[in-house]
Symmetry: C2
Subunit: 490 residues, 2 copies
């Protein structure tokens, strides 16, 4: 059915690329490091956006839009931030092309050089905090809870569709608060939203925790994150929420008068998830037959394929299917009836399997006689014949069940691939094999760096749910109060 | 109530700027020519997006995403297109900044010069048709009906918030078809969608027609447009739909095998509306008291303001209001209950008037006693006391009525400001006064240009609904078969 897809066990990276291509999710563009997100891939991203956007709005956030361009001087203002982001970036230096005086085509007009270079936003803290200066005067203006959906550019040298691209799509929240406690609460609230989204929508279990200083967002006081485990045993950072302290308020001079009439710097958070989640979604659930989608994010939840020989047969099947489609839609289920005569039903079966449509219904002439329908599940690849009577309720329940089953499968995988390791030998061996390695760490940047250099493993996070348990650092042997999550990562 | 807003009659341009500012729609950013769209303005744009997106999808279009960057050589490929768009644009020449070796801050790293400059997309025909080359092989791949929501950049020298900005947000549809007739049908279908959106959602009447060759999109065979009349008598092009013929298919070598097995170039359309519509919306309906929004695009359709002196009064009002809010929401009406204690009710009344909230409900203690509520309409600025019993149905109807009344008011304005003019003297005088001037034109570019030079008026379109009626060109006196729409324009 799905001949041609490389098996995960043979070449995981190639398997990933083939799913992206064969399921028509995205492709590399002619522009270095930039991708084209194809309609089917974009439809999944739209479902993600809608779900997240609803959650942001339900917690009082509003969307807005800020400029694509960051003046170079803005990026320089917050020192650590500049260190982190003002490096590999797209720099606009001119604002005009002109006809080539020496021949064909167009050349950059040297007379149209910008006084100050503009950077394509790698992230928008600088532009947004420069704007907030005009918006925040009093405690009455706070909190300011703003989110933006947009494109950003980071000039990555080694790119990979969805996982690491020069341009990507994301949302970035930027909030300002009157107190430190409130900003920390916001940082944590958003991490909770990300975790809920990952687990309940993407059906992808995540570990919540805090980054080490070395892995922190440039300019943050504390970076919170969710980390997921992919099927090849590598970790994927799936969302980050940063407590920025007063760093940006100080750099951009954003002060407000508090209730006592005193001037204070505002407290900040920022947080984002990106089209990288598409990569996580693919790698969390898909199998050697193609994409597997959790029903809540599937653009097509149910596909109905008629199996017929003659136009009369098709007409009879269509007559039976039409009320079924109406019933499914009335329950909020997205359904596609593929009666396209250009393709055979066998081709369609393979196609929807590749594309991860959760439920496929097949209807042939014998089904019409018997009042049955064939129900095929993408997640388990099982099929059964069911009475067409009552099938809508059955499918509604089935979609919920598939959502749960996919999540539980991913959770079981993560549990089986999470290891408590206490010796350096075991550590090196396990990191080589993959998975989340829970080990003691002495808390120093030196150890973190040494472990990374020797094994390529990084500390994915200091997890919230880690049991306080005294131990010895797996590398240095020094005292440690709790285990952290080590893994190789995307 | 709304002191401080310049009257339209005094200074229309200033009036516009003040509404943009006071209604908190947008503001100029620190980046030249780029705007910040503030949460309230963005919420209106989101409503526009949702309505349009639903219409595109209902007609078989799918969203996708293409790169922000256009390699310079792509822009050069379609000659007329290059003429039009490869001029004032943002050019990325480098991909790295580095620490300034001569002192503080960052400088562009000269070692990181791009081999080929990248242009920030001013529109995406070039990048998309380069991609379509890989997507279109057979008639089975057609039609390709794709839309993208994104940001674009055109380096405008004179900018104006929403109306003309260096960066703006828009949607751009790009379709490919097997036949010329089908592509033309698509171009017209989209124009119909734009007109429906303008009239039924924005409550803004539009003239549909075709652009003259001189006003055509660079690279198009024919440009269809909708034109609206603003309150200062100037026209505003509100949407364009282009039939591109085979121009881009030829430039990017996009051929398909037709049903007869022959290779043919694909036929193309492209079409777009932008955040410019925000400017149109403001100018179409607003008055000297502030913004006026059609209910279908109002982020808040109904605001409820409690009028109270004590916390006990507020509690009593809130108890009465809560079931009302639930009822309104159940009818799909967006409602805000503003019980914020930081502001007085008088301030709130002025604020929601400025922000164009269609219906304001006021509830005081006497209303509680009498079982009444004060209903204020933003469009007519009228108020009446109504029984609170049955108020939900009343408001649902009222919102529909306001939508209609606003549209009819704008239509009446346009009708009163559309003039049939037959002499050059009358033409010059009327153009000076403003409005749509329906006049005969000899069909030549020379006349069009001369009229523009002498009066600043352009031909907004050759309208579809113009009566075929022989006449003499208002400028040259030569024969003309029908009237066209002249106006000064934004």
């Amino acid at each position: 059915m799905s001949k041609g897809i490389t098996k995960r066990s043979e070449n995981y990276s190639e398997w990933y690329n083939e799913i992206v291509k064969r399921a028509e999710l995205a492709e590399n563009s002619a522009v270095r490091g930039c991708m084209v997100i194809k309609p089917y891939g974009f439809a999944i991203w739209e479902k993600m956006q809608r779900a997240l956007d609803d959650m942001f709005k339900a917690t009082g956030h509003q969307n807005a839009y800020f400029p694509l361009f960051v003046p170079k001087s803005f990026l320089e203002k917050e020192e650590e931030h500049a260190e982190g982001f003002a490096k590999e970036c797209a720099v606009v230096t001119h604002y005009r092309l002109k006809a080539n005086p020496d021949g064909k085509g167009l050349v950059v007009d040297p007379a149209a050089k910008l006084e100050e270079e503009l950077i394509i936003r790698p992230t928008s803290e600088a532009v947004i905090w420069n704007t907030y200066k005009g918006w925040i005067q009093s405690w009455r203006d706070l909190p300011l809870l703003i989110n933006q959906w947009c494109n950003v550019v980071r000039w990555e040298m080694r790119t990979r569709i969805f996982l690491r691209t020069a341009e990507f799509l994301w949302q970035e929240g930027h909030t300002a608060h009157a107190t430190e406690a409130e900003a920390i609460e916001e940082t944590e609230k958003i991490l909770g939203i990300y975790a809920t989204f990952a687990e309940e929508w993407m059906a992808m279990p995540v570990v919540q925790g805090i980054k080490t200083a070395g892995e922190r967002f440039a300019g943050a006081v504390e970076t919170y994150c969710i980390e997921a485990l992919m099927q090849d045993g590598k970790a994927l950072q799936s969302g980050t929420s940063h407590f920025l302290g007063q760093n940006f308020a100080k750099s951009f001079d954003v002060k407000f008068t508090n209730k006592e009439g005193q001037l204070e710097y505002a407290w900040a958070t920022s947080w984002g998830v990106s089209t990288r989640l598409m990569g996580a979604l693919i790698m969390a659930h898909s199998d050697d037959n193609g994409l597997v989608l959790p029903p809540k994010l599937a653009p097509i939840q149910v596909v109905i394929v008629p199996i017929h020989k003659t136009p009369e047969d098709l007409a009879a099947i269509t007559a039976k299917v039409e009320p079924l489609i109406a019933e499914l839609k009335a329950q909020g289920i997205s359904v596609k009836y593929d009666d396209d005569e250009k393709q055979r039903s066998g081709w369609k079966f393979a196609e929807y399997e590749l594309k991860g449509v959760p439920v496929r219904l097949g209807l042939g002439m014998r089904d019409l006689e018997n009042g049955t329908v064939e129900v095929a599940r993408r997640d388990t690849l099982t099929k059964e014949s069911r009475p067409i009577e009552g099938i809508t309720d059955y499918i509604a329940n089935l979609l919920d069940e598939i959502q749960t089953v996919i999540y539980e499968k991913a959770l079981k995988f993560r549990e089986e691939n999470t290891f408590l390791v206490d010796t350096w030998e075991d550590f090196k061996a396990q990191i080589e094999k993959g998975g989340f390695v829970m080990a003691h760490w002495d808390g120093t940047a030196e150890t973190e760096e040494a472990v990374k250099n020797e094994t390529k493993a990084t500390i994915r996070c200091i997890p919230f749910n880690s049991i306080e348990q005294a131990g010895k650092c797996v590398y240095s042997g020094k005292d440690s109060a709790k285990r952290v999550v080590f893994a190789k990562a995307y």
